[in-house]
Symmetry: D2
Subunit: 389 residues, 4 copies
């Protein structure tokens, strides 16, 4: 019998919606989970938004003061889905209030702030979770399983990229994602960190990097209101322009602690790419590759196949794969982002009840910000930079 | 402000789960819908299953007598997700009780029974919905939009298929899906009807057919318990064998009322295919094609493109496409089966409140059974057979 | 040491070019073949075309009287690459002259004429070859090998199609391919026969069919000169229109002699399709599929793979596959149509010297015309029709 | 009327065969070319190989002394297809003899030697050609056309890779490709240079790089004879091992002279990859991408398409595309490596007669070796390195 955990959600944008859907479905997808969420209270910046969020997202209560929510004794876990620049303050406050905290990525605006958050949480002894939701999909968990089973053998290389084109239109207004003081960084932190997360999940820590970053469009129309439309058809720009001070594209050479070498890349100006979160791992026994645009597939090539029958095999996710019981009884009926998000939150909530480790957690959030920082430093120095303390 | 409708769900298998997830998410996905479902009561064949269903699927109440549910004055709509052979009795009873009814496909075991159900519902003046969920996906609605906009021009042909391989293992036990008296027919009714539904949705009524059907495996192990594992790794078969008396594969030539010619096909023995619900429509101005295994993509080729730049274009579903506001703000973040199911149920519930037409409805369910019947007759007669009264 | 065979080529269009290239490369691709062709003499309808053909195609001599070529004692084999309507006369004349004959498909305009040609060749005791070149590619031979090795097991079904869009533009003039008295039939004979050939090659004879055929555009501009531009940008049409009296699309249900059921389809109005010659074979142990647009790949799915690792495998043709020594030393360097044509002609020439059987030969050409005839009859009768005497 | 040029070919391995096939087909593919090759004389290291080469490759004469060939007055052009370590000596000798020279890549073992060759050719005033054959395919020329037409707009980024797996098997013997003194470098020079060539062709010169290189397998079996089996099933290894002293994989960040940033990568240990020469170019108006494994396709996405209809378009090469008249009259009939090689050699020979520029030529060969050198230096220095003098 699952223990009910009251969730306090801060933020009501795209990710707030995603998390709310996840909370709504976890009890049915995972009836035997240790914990089941209850949508208890939600907060946004004003009454109107907060009230609407409660109505739309199925929460019992709302407040426009997030601190009330953190201090509410009925709240078991805090879930932070606000823009990046307030993550730190909220996460530390929640930790200090002794609440378990799940935070959307990035953990904070940079590695220093992220470390502060990590340490506050560690000191508080709480469970922490990070919103690297993509990696929780069936295909990624199956990739991990194949690696752990030795099917890939000695790893020979990693390539990863996250390409989309949501920012390519010059008329797309300057949302907070284009401002360093609100976003921390550009595509490297917003997108490339998902690839870093997958890389670390599958192959362990990244040791050092050599990188370039680039701002492709130097200015954008000021928005006429605060919003974050991402890939919607551009609207709401004024005729005034404002500067973009973060990166739109990046390329990164990496060396893992294991000595494995790799290449990462990201762009939000890659016309024709939707949500191409791609990686490929080559090893002595086989290879795997993945593309989120076709998130229900994992491609696997094995050197154990007969020489003339070797080739990349398209494995369609289904009931035989990780978390298969939660979803559909035939491969290819398909899940999407909602299900990956549900798995991530379920794993976090279960750990709160069970006391187990959460993966990914605030340490991962911090370590990834260290990698981002090293890449940004490398872009300045023109040299390889060590990632971690 | 959405009106709350109390749902009575009969059945707690795979589709019961899918519908429950849909009900859980509709209020968040579609905050402005006319109706929002409330999971009020669920019924299955015994107390244990019914109680568990209520717990897992988030219903307030349960009963092991589905008639109680139909006669419960608090119930606004009945949702039937039982095995095929009880659809008729339940749907007619619900209609006669004046309840609006949503029924998973097929409407009943054959065209005669389906007509009875259709007529009972018509007589009762209720709203009806059919569980052809796949066609409610973003890509299908966008396909329809392109056709309606004239982007395809005069239609030149239709090809459709539904291939998977869940039944290929001889050790897969004989579930009710392999028995004519419980399933009505085999792959033609279970799978091929989804292609027929898409064909009719996009191109209108099918007039006549010439068909073959085939049982590929004549007998299977008797199951050791009642279950329907579909594509899970086979288990639970006894050493006793029982005959399969329905079709495992079919091929169908079709002529639409419009004179357009087409080809349909289905198999559940197509090793390597996951859930390949495919169609392609060629026309004088362009073509579209779709494969459910990659349900977030619609392929479109236009003769309006420059001659040397012509080619099939892979359009990734996102916020610009039908129901885009309900889902994610960047193309390719992806939805799956749950979202298509949610759209179908939302459309039905909205019509209950708004009084609009539902599409697909029981008449569609009946018409499709007429096509199935004509194909089965054609397999016997060796001739083209008219589909409809 | 290969024996040199003098080739007499009749016709200098697209296929004459393809064959000439094949002749030019056979000695280098297959140094150890029993026979090597020598481009001895070429004929077309007038001096200008014939002379140009000799110059462009590398032949020693030319004539504008194809009978001279047939009666030339120095000529060892006759190769017929003219439009369909003269195949019969030429092939019979060549056979009667005791020359070995290779004929582009179709063998003649219909089954009766094809039988006459077949019987004339049989009576003459000559070697015959048919221009079903596509099936000679590495991937097709490898498909055959997998089937022969039992990797597919009991065959469960065949689907095949040949879709392209070269005829979709209404301004494409009426070449001989749109006239029944010159072409014999439309897409069914011109394209669908390639799929029939692959089907028969891999699975044996087709016993009976049920079919529809359709003329999608009833008239076209008369051409201002005799030409056959196929998929080039349309040009050369006059303002006068002339009727099309052959089929542009067809759909065919088939039953093989083995009892295996299948579906065939073809269209030359399938906007977006280039040269999509596709087939898929499902069996009890595995499946294979192929698409000529990616002719260097064969897809194979095996039920011998671990349950959770099953999936269609993309095998890239290379040195490990049939005729691999003739081509490149790494898979994926790629061959095209020229190489498939070279293999077909090499196999024919080798048989002339070795005395072995040729596959495909005139009997295949005739048998396929019987299938075409049965399909056209079925389109009229609305019933299944037997294919063969 | 094409001028006949007598070719002297040095080397008779895989590339000798490819060139010979090209020479055999050029007159038929390009009847209106300024020059047509005549296979006059071929040389290899001993009489047996040289004699066999003449027989197999269709050359009139042979010699086992390549200097005789260079000094033969009847020879118009020298074509060097030997292993890398003798390119320099032969190319300089040929230049000094006043012969026009085509050389397979790399031009020489490193940038210094390559410069010597380039300067010798420049001094001699001869025409030079380089065997970067892949880029001469229809799809690459069409990519260039789209860029030149402004369809891509301002370039935002380049990613390229060349992945295959021919070297992954530890039992593959140590051919000259694994020895620095014979090959110059490993995968970076053998494979990655093809991507560099495509990058430079499409986007101009590369200015600086940051790179890693890696030897993945430190030793291999000594071969029992001199051979270069590449992707064939490994054989011919002895039980003695010898060290590999070149790179098996590399990752390279690049900056073009234009300021465009990019990422290159290469591996010959990428299990599952056949001949994956891939690039993608994103720009303000559109994107293109290409994969040699499907060399008859170019993918193009345009921001001029309607917002909701945007997507990567698969354009199948055919008669409408560059050099389309040389090949087949319907898109998708397909060409392979032989045709790309033929175009490259045809372009070179035409320039010899016409006096035009050749692209690519020895300067390109040298410049690419400069990039390779900079990448190898960067691997040592850990810093960005300038590529060119």
């Amino acid at each position: 019998m699952a223990k009910k955990l009251n969730v306090g959600l801060i933020g009501s944008g795209f990710m707030g919606k995603a998390h709310s859907i996840a909370y709504a479905t976890i009890p049915t997808l995972f009836p035997d989970a240790a914990a089941h969420p209850h949508r208890y209270i939600v907060a946004d910046v004003n009454d109107e938004l907060s009230k609407e969020a409660a109505a739309h997202f199925g929460f019992d209560k709302w407040t426009s003061n997030w601190k009330d929510l953190i201090n509410d004794d009925s709240v078991d876990v805090i879930d932070i889905v606000t823009p990046n620049f307030v993550h730190k303050e909220m996460a530390i406050a929640a930790a200090e209030a002794g609440k378990h905290v799940f935070c959307e990525k990035p953990l904070a605006l940079n590695k220093q702030e992220s470390k502060e958050v990590y340490e506050a949480a560690k000191k508080a002894g709480i469970k922490t979770g990070m919103g690297f939701n993509y990696r929780k999909s069936q295909a990624l968990a199956f990739a991990k399983k194949l690696i752990d089973q030795g099917k890939i053998g000695t790893v020979y290389g990693f390539r990863g990229m996250y390409l989309n084109d949501w920012a390519k239109d010059p008329e797309t207004p300057l949302s907070w994602r284009f401002e360093k003081n609100k976003a921390g960084s550009g595509v490297i932190g917003d997108q490339c960190t998902h690839v870093m997360d997958m890389a670390r999940y599958l192959l362990g820590e990244i040791d050092r990097v050599s990188a370039w970053t680039k701002t492709l469009l130097k200015e954008r129309p000021k928005p006429t209101a605060a919003f974050d439309d991402l890939g919607k058809k551009p609207s709401g720009g004024s005729s005034d322009m404002a500067p973009v001070d973060v990166d739109d594209a990046c390329g990164i050479l990496v060396e893992f602690n294991s000595g494995v070498m790799g290449v990462l890349e990201s762009s939000r100006f890659a016309t024709g790419r939707g949500n191409h979160i791609f990686f490929e791992i080559n090893g002595s026994k086989g290879s795997i590759r993945f593309d989120w645009e076709r998130n229900n597939e994992l491609w696997y090539a094995s050197n154990d196949d007969e020489f003339e029958e070797r080739g990349y095999r398209r494995i369609i996710m289904g009931p035989a794969h990780p978390n298969g019981d939660a979803f559909w009884p035939i491969a290819g009926i398909n899940t999407g982002y909602a299900e990956a998000t549900a798995i991530n939150l379920k794993d976090f909530l279960d750990a709160v009840v069970d006391g187990g480790d959460v993966d990914p957690n605030f340490e991962d959030g911090w370590r990834i910000e260290e990698i981002v920082d090293a890449a940004l430093r490398s872009n300045e120095s023109g040299k390889w930079e060590k990632c971690h303390e």
